[in-house]
Structures are given as C-alpha cells and as structure tokens.
C-alpha cells in the first residue's frame, strides 16, 4: 500500500483519479456500480446460469457436453467482447499505476487498437467457423427413460424458449422459483436472459446518441455563429417531436428487431448531449488553454476532441447514465406495448405485459419480478449518475 501511494505521488494524480476517489467515497455509489457489474456478469453468463441443456451427461457410456455444443454464435461473440472489455478495464487501471505518463496515451491507444481488432477478427472467425446447430434432444426425457446418467445441469435447468404447455401460468414453486409464463417457460430463466436485451439496448442506444450528440454539439459550440444558429434549430425541431410516439411510428415501419430499436432510440435522443456539449464548448472556446492550443498550431481534431472534450465531457458522462436508464425504460415500454423484440426472445417489458393473462387473471409474479428488475436497474444507473455528478462538482477542480 505504501509503495502504491508512493507511486501515485511520484506521477501525480490525474483528474480521472480525483473523480474516482470522490465517487468511491459514497457506499451507495459503489454498491450500485457493483450491482451494474453484477447485472453484466449475469447477462454475459446467462447461458450457463439458465439452460435446459446439461453441462455434462453420460449417454451410452459416452460423455457429452451439450451446453457447449448448443452455445449460439451470439453467445461466443458476447463472451469474446466481455473478456476483452474486462481486460481493457484492467489494463487502464494498470496503466494508471504502472505506466509512465510519458507514453501512457500511446500505450492506451495501442491497447485499444489491439483489443478491438482481436474482438472484430474473433467475431468474424466465429461467424465463419462456428456452425449453427440446433440440438432438439430433450435430455430430461433421456434421463427419465434411463438412457442417460450423471447429468450436471445449470442452476436453473430450463431454456428460455422451451415451452411446456402443461405448466402454464404457474405461480412460484420449488421447481420454478419465479413461476412460469403463458407458454410455460420459466420466468427466472427468461429474466436472466432478458437482462442481455435491457443492458445492450441501454449501452448501444446511448452510445449511438452520445456519439452523434457529442460530435454535433462540439461543432455547434466551437464554430458558433451561423452554424450554431442552423444546428440549434434542427435540435429544437427534434426536441419538439414527442420522442416516444416518433419511436412507435418508426418501429411500425421497420421489422421488429433489437438492432432497429437500438438505432431508433439512438438517433432520436442525441439532442440533450448536443446541447450539453455545445454549452460547455461555448465556455471552453474562450479559455486560455484552448487559445494556447490553437496558437501552437494544433489541428482542429486535436483541439476539439483532445483539448476541449475531456474538459467538457463531465455533464455528458453524468447524463449518459441517466440516458441508459431512459433507454432501458423506453425498450421496456415498447415491448410492453408489443412493439419491442418478438417472442421467444425474452425482454423484461414484454414479460411485464403478460401479467394480465388472456383469461383475465392477474398473474402477480409476471408483473412483480420483471418490474422489479427494470426498477432496480434503472435505479442503479440513476444513483450512479447522481454520485458521478457530485464527484465531478467544480469544487473538486480547484486543486
């Protein structure tokens, strides 16, 4: 520990470290961040947590590993992205402690390039080489008939798309901890798999809108004048349209796919980011260090994105966390109304809509658990955003 603090003082504390120190002072913030990481872990490992295929099974004296044979192409891609994403986070932490600041940006850039190219190449290889199999074997029937033995199942031994019409609309029991839905699929299993949809919608949609918003806002704020005048009118027109109804209208014209929903949410909600960045850039443009950067002859790209953006990104970062919560909410609402992803792909909003069955019965477990999942996720993101906003408080900057 003493060695570590020595190293820190040796290289100085960066702004990011100051913010992190302030952020992690609050236990609630750490807890919520932990919860979000937990959700990510659940989403990534969902096929190993809930699957109707066993990890291992002995059929005719031969050992089989059906769960691995049944992983989908998308599962492999998610594992790959998760592994390298986590590796990158670890590398960034290591950079701050071990790597000399003189080469830190270069090293970071190289790491990101290597990691993302591995992910891209890996994804392409997976798409080419991993066969798309469909294993329709009912392993539980095999066990019941005595043909197979020594089966090791996942903690929740049901598939999210396995229907069992004999067990429709069952309340929570020892077999189905959170009950079953209208076609007899396990609710807990669908909840775990549904976290993938919610988290990816949040990240991808907000990623798209943040990138559009930051670039648009940077240009408006830096150039000002006519560019700004025209740009802001476009932003105002976008803001005058009720986004949710716009999304519903657009969704009606396009096939119901997750990607379409992400893109639509992304391209309709960039305006707030653009306005934040524009306001920050107006302020920053006149600052001495930006003038100094211009007077050193640095190119526009470097001035906008290297010198101005890191100093003006704070409100956007805070808003991104709220934006993710909002996107998750919009997706849930769309699915609830039946405009979201099509079944059997599980989505929390869609599960929620099954709470009132066609027979008119109120199935409380179908409303409560997905609703709770949406609520907790949105709450966690919002609390993280709040803490981040406090940590970025200008008081901290004067040090």
């Amino acid at each position: 520990m003493s060695k570590q603090s020595q190293e820190k003082s040796k290289w100085g504390t960066s702004y990011g470290e100051l913010v992190w120190r302030e952020f992690s002072k609050s236990w609630l913030a750490r807890f919520c961040l932990g919860f979000i990481f937990f959700l990510f872990a659940v989403a990534v490992f969902a096929p190993f947590l809930a699957n109707d295929k066993p990890f291992a099974i002995r059929i005719d004296e031969q050992l089989h590993f059906p769960i691995f044979r049944n992983l989908k192409v998308s599962d492999y891609c998610i594992f790959l992205a998760a592994i390298f994403g986590y590796l990158q986070v670890l590398l960034i932490r290591r950079n701050h402690k071990r790597v000399d600041p003189s080469i830190r940006p270069a090293i970071l850039w190289r790491q990101i390039c290597i990691n993302s190219s591995i992910v891209v190449i890996g994804t392409i290889l997976i798409l080419i080489f991993v066969p798309r199999r469909l294993d329709a074997t009912d392993y539980k029937a095999l066990i019941a008939s005595g043909k197979a033995t020594n089966a090791v199942f996942a903690p929740i031994p049901y598939g999210y798309d396995r229907t069992n019409l004999k067990l429709r609309e069952q309340p929570p029991s020892r077999q189905h901890w959170l009950g079953t839905d209208d076609v007899g699929a396990d609710v807990l299993c669908r909840l775990l798999h549904g976290s993938r949809i919610s988290l990816s919608v949040g990240f991808v949609a907000v990623g798209i809108s943040a990138v559009i918003g930051v670039i648009a806002g940077a240009i408006l704020g830096y150039f000002g004048g006519k560019v700004d005048f025209i740009g802001m009118r476009v932003v105002e027109i976008m803001m005058a349209i009720p986004v949710f109804f716009l999304i519903i209208t657009i969704v009606a014209f396009f096939p119901r796919s997750l990607l379409n929903i992400m893109i639509i949410i992304g391209i309709t909600s960039w305006t707030s980011y653009a306005r934040f960045i524009r306001a920050e850039f107006f302020k920053l443009r006149k600052q001495d260090f930006v003038q100094a950067a211009i007077s050193l002859g640095l190119p526009l790209r470097s001035i906008l994105f290297r010198h101005m953006l890191p100093n003006g990104i704070a409100p956007v970062l805070v808003n991104v966390t709220f934006g993710i919560a909002g996107a998750i909410f919009i997706e849930a609402a769309l699915s609830f109304l039946g405009f979201g992803v099509a079944p059997p792909t599980p989505s929390w909003g869609q599960m929620l809509s099954l709470g009132v069955s066609t027979t008119g019965r109120f199935l409380w477990w179908l409303s409560l658990f997905p609703g709770l999942a949406i609520f907790l996720t949105v709450l966690a993101y919002n609390l993280v955003g709040e803490s981040l906003r406090d940590a970025i408080d200008p008081k901290l900057r004067i040090q």
């Binding site: 000002g224 002859g297 640095l298 190119p299 100093n311």
Partner: protein, 330 residues
C-alpha cells in the same frame, strides 16, 4: 551584430468587432515592424488594443464577431492574412508562438505538462512520442525547472504560478519559433517572479536569436527589456521609437503624460502626476485626435478636434501621431 533584417511588418492593420448594433474598432491602422533578434514592446493601457493586435498577428481573433478588416502582416516575406488556414496552422507554434497572461488557465488541466509540450513537438517536427518527450524534458530544463524528468510527469495543478508560466514558455519555444509573442507574461505573477521570467526570456532570446513581441502596460519592464517601443492609445499607435529615445524625449503628449506619472527614484512628497479624464469608450471615440479631450499641452485646437493625425516619421526610426509634435510634417 548588425543584421537589421525585418522579421515582421504590420501594415495598416485594422481589426473590428461586430456586435448586433455596433462596430467596435479595436485596432485601427496599426503599422510597425520588428527586426530579427530584438525585443519590441507594445505598451498601452487596458483595452487599447494591444492584445487584439497580437491575436490578429496569430489570426486568433475570434470569428465571427471579430474580423481583420484591412491591412497586411508580412512575416518572413509571406502575408499571413492571405494564407490558408492549413498553412497558418504550420506557422502557429512552429514559427510564431505565443504565451498568455494567465499561466494558471493556459495549461490544459487534464494532461501532464510533458504531454502538452510533446504534442506540439510531434506535430511540427514529426518526431516519435519518446523522442518528443525527451525534447520536452530538455525544454523544461532549459526554462529552469528543477528535476524536469519528474516535473514533466506532473499535472498543471501540481505546480505554482511561476512554474506554470515557465512551462508555458517551454511549450511556446519548443519548436524554436522565430517570433515569440508574450502577451503580458508577468502580469499575473508577483514581482520577484516577474524578474525571473523576464530574465529567462532574455536568456532564451540570446540562445535562440528569436524576436520577442512584448505586450505590457508596465513602462518599467519596457525600459529594462525592450529595444523598440510602440505606444498604443485608443486602438491606434501614437508613437514608435527605440526605448532610449522614447524615455529621454517623448514626443506624443500621451507618452509624455505616461512617463510623468511614473514613480521615480528621489521623488518625494508631491502628488504623482495623472493624465486627467478617462480612456474613451470604444463605441464613442472622440472626433479628430482621440487624445484631444485629455491633452494637456495647451495647443489643443480645431485641427486636433476635427482631423486625426496619422503616424508619420519625424526622425529616422521615430514616428509619432500628433499635429503639434516636434518635427511633425504640417
């Protein structure tokens, strides 16, 4: 040393700011020229247009409100005002560099100082990051920062104001510019640091042979450090001379007033001289000579009130803009 080669000549430069209703004439018909390896001081009170002149030379006047409406800025044979933005970017930092008034806000808080210096070096001299970093450390050593290896890895907020200004200077001279524009480099620093920073600039000038355009309101600094002076008043240059002659025999009544109001050694008991009145509002400049409402020479007449005198040469290497200055062509 007798290379009186002109490095920069500004001819008839006018920079205006356009607001919704008014036009603020920040710089009007400013002309001067600088020689290689010398220090040229631009003196004047706040708001007289010295900084805007400097920004105009760098073409940093913030558009769309600010605009250079006329003039030429010839730097090493090229008119900077007609260069494309891309060419201009190569001039900035590489051939003309600038240091600013406030060292505390002139460094980017999110990068280490070494990083900021190295960025300009990698850009202009096409060097790799490790080489540029070594150069940056060398520059920090040159500007008198102890333990430069260590300091290059620190962030601006970990340094004192004087040290930050040294870093700014290191950044500005990192690409060996021919001209360094110092916009009130010591105004934000205390007196002992002022002397250190100015000494440093002198020393660097001797080493590299660059010219310095020193913008200041402090006549004491001018007397010590500059070889040539231009005095600005209300967006125009009213007098240009070499320092010795200016201090010995000021020709313009404004310069005379400024020098009289300086505190001198042996000055006791009496009230310090002041120039009566206020700096004119740039929106409502007086007609004729802009200084005439405050002029105390007594020859203030119709001519002064109606026609503005141009900057004319009255002695070799000396120009003044006053109808009644000694030797002014009538």
């Amino acid at each position: 040393m007798d290379n009186n080669e002109t490095l920069l000549s500004v001819k008839d430069l006018s920079t205006y700011f356009f607001t919704e209703k008014n036009v603020i004439k920040a710089v009007q018909n400013v002309s001067f020229s600088m020689e290689k390896g010398r220090t040229f001081a631009l003196v004047g009170e706040s708001g007289c247009g010295k900084s805007v002149t400097a920004l105009s030379i760098m073409r940093l006047v913030s558009e769309p409100q600010g605009k250079i409406v006329s003039g030429e800025i010839i730097f090493q044979g090229n008119n900077l005002l007609t260069l494309s933005e891309k060419r201009m970017r190569k001039v900035r930092g590489n051939e003309i560099a600038m240091i600013f008034q406030e060292p505390m806000t002139s460094l980017n808080p999110v990068y280490t100082v070494g990083n900021q210096i190295a960025e300009a070096i990698t850009l202009h001299q096409k060097k790799g990051i490790s080489e540029a970093w070594a150069d940056a450390v060398e520059m920090l050593k040159k500007v008198g920062i102890s333990d430069p290896q260590q300091r290059a890895r620190e962030y601006p907020h970990q340094m004192s104001g004087g040290m930050q200004q040294r870093v700014m200077i290191a950044m500005a001279i990192s690409c060996q510019p021919g001209l360094l524009i110092a916009d009130e480099p010591t105004t934000a620093l205390d007196v002992t640091l002022q002397a250190q920073i100015l000494d440093l600039l002198d020393e660097l000038q001797k080493q590299t042979g660059m010219s310095i355009l020193l913008i200041t309101h402090d006549l004491g600094i001018v007397a010590q450090r500059a070889e040539d002076v231009a005095v600005m008043y209300a967006s125009r240059i009213v007098e240009v001379a070499d320092t010795q002659r200016l201090f010995k025999e000021p020709l313009h009544p404004y310069t005379q007033g400024l020098l009289k109001s300086l505190l001198r050694l042996g000055f006791e008991g009496k009230r310090l001289h002041t120039i009566s009145g206020n700096v004119p509002d740039p929106l409502h400049f007086p007609t004729g000579c802009k200084f005439h409402p405050r002029c105390q020479t007594g020859c203030n007449d119709k001519k002064c009130q109606s026609a503005e005198p141009k900057l004319r040469e009255v002695q070799p290497g000396r120009s003044v803009a006053c109808w009644y200055a000694k030797g002014y062509p009538q």
